[in-house]
């Protein structure tokens, strides 16, 4: 494993919900290494998505420090966060979030267009195995196909980190494995960091490390000496 690319110190995130302050994240400290796959596990409301949003520059911290390759993200303004997302981070969501009126290839191009150092959109389409579906609109694709396009769109930017929020949550077993294989190979080939949020403990078996969140706290981090290849995972 290589150097840390992201260092988090005592991350805190509070939400004001009317008169109640919800502490979504309390004192989380960790590092993310280049090329590693991290799985984040925890029950609903444990702060998994909050953590991902903070790492991904989608949300601002209430306290603590966060450095990306030495740059203090906790001090970044909205514009700097936008460029951080644009150049360093790729997102994959449970519900794909594709542009309904762009074709598959155009959806990938949407992110190619704004990146500094993008990968070829056609190549990414080929990598996710959907070369023949490039001119289909999302409504003409199955859920698994849509998620693969979403993945290709995130990867095409050539980000340093790929953040996935329940990427297989809406998919069947077989399609889920396909998506996991893609994630893993991306990490292997390009030496990128991948964070996967999941409910599914089985998926955590492919990760190098597993973060357990509980009630907004990072309860423990387990190291997985021998991560399973995705095709070996079952549930």
């Amino acid at each position: 494993m290589n150097d840390p690319i992201l260092v988090a110190e005592n991350l805190q995130k509070f939400y004001q919900m009317g008169e109640v302050t919800v502490k979504a994240l309390k004192d989380a400290s960790f590092e993310l290494m280049e090329g590693e796959v991290v799985a984040v596990l925890g029950p609903s409301g444990s702060g998994k998505s909050t953590l991902l949003n903070i790492i991904g520059g989608m949300d601002k911290l209430s306290g603590g420090k966060l450095y990306y390759k030495g740059t203090p993200l906790h001090q970044a303004d909205t514009k700097q966060l936008t460029y951080y997302r644009r150049n360093e981070v790729g997102f994959v969501f449970q519900f794909y979030n594709l542009m309904p009126n762009l074709t598959a290839l155009e959806n990938i191009n949407l992110s190619v267009q704004i990146s500094q150092n993008p990968l070829s959109a056609e190549e990414m389409l080929e990598q996710v195995g959907l070369s023949d579906r490039g001119d289909h609109f999302p409504s003409q694709l199955s859920g698994g196909e849509q998620q693969r396009i979403a993945l290709a769109r995130a990867l095409a930017k050539n980000p340093q980190m790929l953040l996935c929020d329940e990427p297989t949550g809406a998919l069947d077993f077989k399609t889920s494995i396909q998506v996991l294989k893609l994630l893993k190979s991306f990490s292997d080939i390009y030496n990128k960091t991948i964070v996967i949020i999941t409910h599914n403990t089985a998926i955590a078996q492919i990760a190098h490390r597993v973060f357990y969140l509980k009630d907004g706290r990072l309860d423990r981090i387990e190291k997985n000496e021998n991560p399973l290849p995705p095709e070996k995972v079952t549930w």
């Binding site: 989608m58 949300d59 936008t82 979030n97 762009l102 191009n109 609109f137 930017k157």
Partner: protein, 787 residues
């Protein structure tokens, strides 16, 4: 409970609802204010006409013996006919630099229910034979007179003092213009005075005849039949004009104004209410889509479809009621100052703002009808929704290819955001069409308003900057000899150039078409009165044959080569002859025909006849010229071109404020449409837009997808707005053009430019507001929820 939900929902989308309320308010404001004013004006006009026995016909003759008038009463259809002496005199006002005129109208104090009776506002009755007058209240006020003040005038070449014993108004001079070409009243320099006939005889001892007749007709009498008979009888007395009430200047202009107001009070509110209704419809439809799940739960709980439908329609009801109430109340208040503006122009007793419950209730009802209909259309989907179906998410939006994609060259030029924007155009065709129409109207309104302004300026300023370019024009009381006048005037100190002209009243006939006009005889080499074509090239007046103004040619259906029968009381021997039309020229004020002066004199068989002259004179010498000629009875008026020009400049300034009101209206419409549709687009696509931001696009880049889409609609809409403003202008032109002035059917380039700026700016401002919404979009919130 539903009430609270409604309040919260309304707050949620306050931008769009507020836009609706503002537009409804504006629409009803215009409706209430203008309808109230129309009602007030019409009622005052009708009762004034009735009470003062307003004439049905107006005749000008050279001279008719007083005894002859009574005989005319025997003509079938005439109820009453009266003769009178009308004379214009100059007022001596040493302190004023302007020429001030009074039109003296003879009245018979003892007469019962006279035609066009003057209505005494204040003061005492007129005494026969005394030098006392009633004066019109506008002149009285503008010149700060008091009762029993004396006015000094020049009558028959002598200074005379007239004592003001009363202030009066007449149905004939509600809108009082000295000449038809004046367009706006100028009470400071022109007024009406009512003088006992016996006193008139003293003022003008040489005038033993009448020069005007007014008559009323029996019910259901055809004016043209009376006219034909009168024409025959009056021919020996030098008939100059015979017009029905409809063509009388004051009545004509008041009716035109009323027509305009009626049209405004109907068209504007309907336009505004329709726009508000569409916004309301779109917003509610969107709300129902958004609250599909909530509707499902309510239905599952056992609420009936009608209850839920009524709940959503109550939103529209609240909006309609709020806008309606605000609008009618503001409109009722506005009607007072508006009416007082009309009091400045129209001399109508009893013209004051009034409060009309009927209009207020009608206004609110109108607003409610529009909004409830919009509300029902927007929310009727609730009825069809089954609870289980409502709880399921709606079918995903499908992407579709658009026509433009077939044109690869253009399509490939677009960025991916551009492609999204273009495809979005067809995603909701109804809404795109609404934006398109809205922007088009917004553009057309401002384009046509500015054009009107440009053309009004052109009409006025061309007349006094390019056509009539003398320093002073002197009109003679009766025709004079050309040579002797030139000789006399050239000798005046300061005069550098003299040109004489003849203005001859004529009746032009082309088969059954017939029109009274003034025929100008101008010197061929003259340079003080220019006849111009569209490109300002000078056209010489023809020696034989006529030049006609466009409007006159149209009215007579005459073309180049048409032979017209020309009849004039000033013609010696045979009263009529034939002249050929040799050219048609643009002219915006008045309807005239032109000829070379010598040619005209030959036609009239009046060698050397001229009726006025134009001078170039040193500025410093104008006052002494005036002093010299004011006391002679040969000169009826001395006009300075600068004075007229100044008057028009003042008038244009007051018209200018109207332009800004129209511009504001189009900005508000443009803004409301773009803003509300942006807000809806944003809420509909918040997920897409948030996804783009997650990808790392800046708010600007995300906004550009929405704005590009709006410009894609906006620019073509503005382009179509161009011919649209031309259509508006043509409508306006045909509605507004009268014998007094012609509004050209043209749209000026600068006005189109202005319309682009105004419309573009309102779109831009609305987009800024949308940008704020995008910046405040919470990525986390939006993406958390499933589709």
């Amino acid at each position: 409970m539903f009430y609270r939900k409604m309040i919260r929902d309304l707050k949620e989308n306050k931008g769009a609802y507020l836009a609706c309320i503002v537009i409804i308010t504006l629409g009803l404001l215009v409706f209430t204010a203008f309808s109230t004013m129309v009602e007030t004006l019409q009622t005052s006009q009708q009762s004034f006409y009735e009470n003062q026995n307003f004439a049905d016909g107006f005749v000008q003759v050279k001279a008719i013996p007083r005894d002859e008038v009574k005989k005319l009463k025997d003509i079938e259809g005439i109820k009453e006919i009266q003769g009178r002496l009308v004379k214009e005199v100059m007022v001596l006002k040493p302190e004023s630099k302007k020429n001030v005129y009074l039109r003296l109208v003879s009245v018979e104090p003892g007469r019962e229910n006279p035609i066009n009776a003057a209505f005494l506002n204040a003061g005492n009755p007129l005494e026969d034979k005394a030098m006392n007058i009633w004066i019109d209240n506008k002149f009285f006020e503008a010149n700060n007179h008091n009762l029993n003040d004396e006015i000094e005038v020049i009558a028959s070449g002598k200074k005379r003092k007239l004592s003001i014993v009363g202030v009066a108004s007449s149905p004939e001079f509600i809108y009082s213009l000295r000449t038809a070409a004046d367009l706006y009243p100028s009470p400071e320099t022109f007024g009406i005075a009512f003088v006992p006939l016996s006193s008139m005889k003293k003022l003008f001892p040489d005038e033993k005849t009448f020069n005007e007749l007014v008559f009323t007709m029996k019910p259901d009498t055809d004016f043209d039949k009376v006219k034909t008979k009168l024409e025959v009888k009056l021919k020996p007395y030098g008939l100059k004009s015979l017009i029905p009430r409809d063509e009388q200047i004051s009545h004509l202009l008041l009716s035109e104004e009323l027509k305009g107001l009626v049209a405004m009070s109907k068209a504007m509110p309907i336009m505004f209410l329709s726009i508000a209704a569409v916004i309301l419809y779109i917003t509610l439809k969107r709300l129902i889509e958004q609250q599909r799940g909530q509707i499902g739960i309510l239905k599952a709980d056992g609420y009936t479809s009608q209850e839920i439908l009524f709940h959503y329609m109550s939103y529209a009801l609240v909006i309609g009621l709020a806008g309606g109430l605000l609008g009618v109340v503001a409109g009722a208040f506005l009607s007072y100052p508006l009416t007082s503006i009309f009091q400045v122009f129209f001399n109508l007793p009893g013209l004051e703002g009034r409060f009309s419950w009927y209009l207020i209730i009608l206004g609110i009802a109108l607003s409610l009808i529009f909004s409830v209909l919009a509300g029902y259309q927007g929310s009727k989907k609730v009825l069809a929704l089954e609870p289980a179906q409502a709880l399921r998410p709606p079918a995903p939006i499908g992407g579709k290819r658009v026509f433009l994609e077939k044109i690869r060259i253009i399509w490939e030029l677009l960025s991916v955001q551009g492609m999204m924007a273009v495809r979005n155009l067809t995603r909701n065709k109804g809404r795109s069409l609404f934006i398109f129409l809205g922007i088009m109207f917004c553009f057309a309104i401002s384009g046509f308003t500015w054009s009107m302004n440009d053309l009004m300026q052109k009409m006025m300023f061309d007349q006094y900057e390019r056509v009539e370019v003398y320093d002073v024009k002197m009109s003679f009381a009766s025709p004079m000899n050309q040579k002797s006048m030139i000789r006399e005037l050239t000798a005046i100190p300061g005069v550098s150039h003299v040109e004489t002209m003849a203005e001859v009243p004529v009746t032009l006939k082309n088969q059954w078409r017939k029109k009274d006009a003034v025929l100008f005889g101008l010197s061929e080499t003259g340079r003080l009165y220019n006849i111009l074509d569209d490109n300002y090239n000078k056209i010489s007046p023809p020696k034989s044959g006529l030049l006609l103004s466009e409007r006159l040619a149209k009215l007579l259906d005459a073309k180049v080569g048409t032979k017209l029968n020309v009849e004039s009381p000033m013609k010696a021997g045979e009263k009529d002859g034939v002249l050929e039309v040799v050219g048609i020229i643009p002219q915006y004020t008045g309807i005239n025909a032109y000829m070379e002066l010598g040619g005209l004199q030959d036609f009239l068989k009046q060698k050397g006849l001229v009726t006025s002259c134009m001078l170039n004179i040193d500025k410093g010498e104008v006052a002494s010229l005036r002093d010299k000629y004011m006391y002679t009875d040969t000169i009826s008026s001395i006009d300075e071109r600068n004075q007229k020009l100044d008057m028009f400049k003042e008038m244009m300034a007051s018209y200018g404020s109207m332009i800004y009101i129209y511009a504001l209206i189009s900005v508000i419409i443009g803004f409301a449409i773009i803003y509300s549709s942006s807000v809806i687009t944003l809420s509909e696509r918040s997920r897409e837009l948030a996804s783009m931001m997650v990808l790392g696009m800046t708010p600007q880049e995300v906004l550009s997808v929405v704005t590009f889409e709006q410009w894609c609609i906006g620019v073509p809409a503005m382009l179509i707005g161009m011919p649209m403003s031309k259509i508006f202008m043509a409508g306006m032109s045909s509605a507004m053009s009268t014998d007094i002035y012609t509004v050209p059917e043209r749209i000026t380039f600068s006005s189109l430019l202005m319309a682009f700026v105004v419309t573009g700016a309102s779109i831009w401002v609305a987009q800024r507001a949308a940008a704020r919404k995008i910046r405040s979009l919470s990525l986390v919130e939006v993406l958390k929820a499933g589709e």
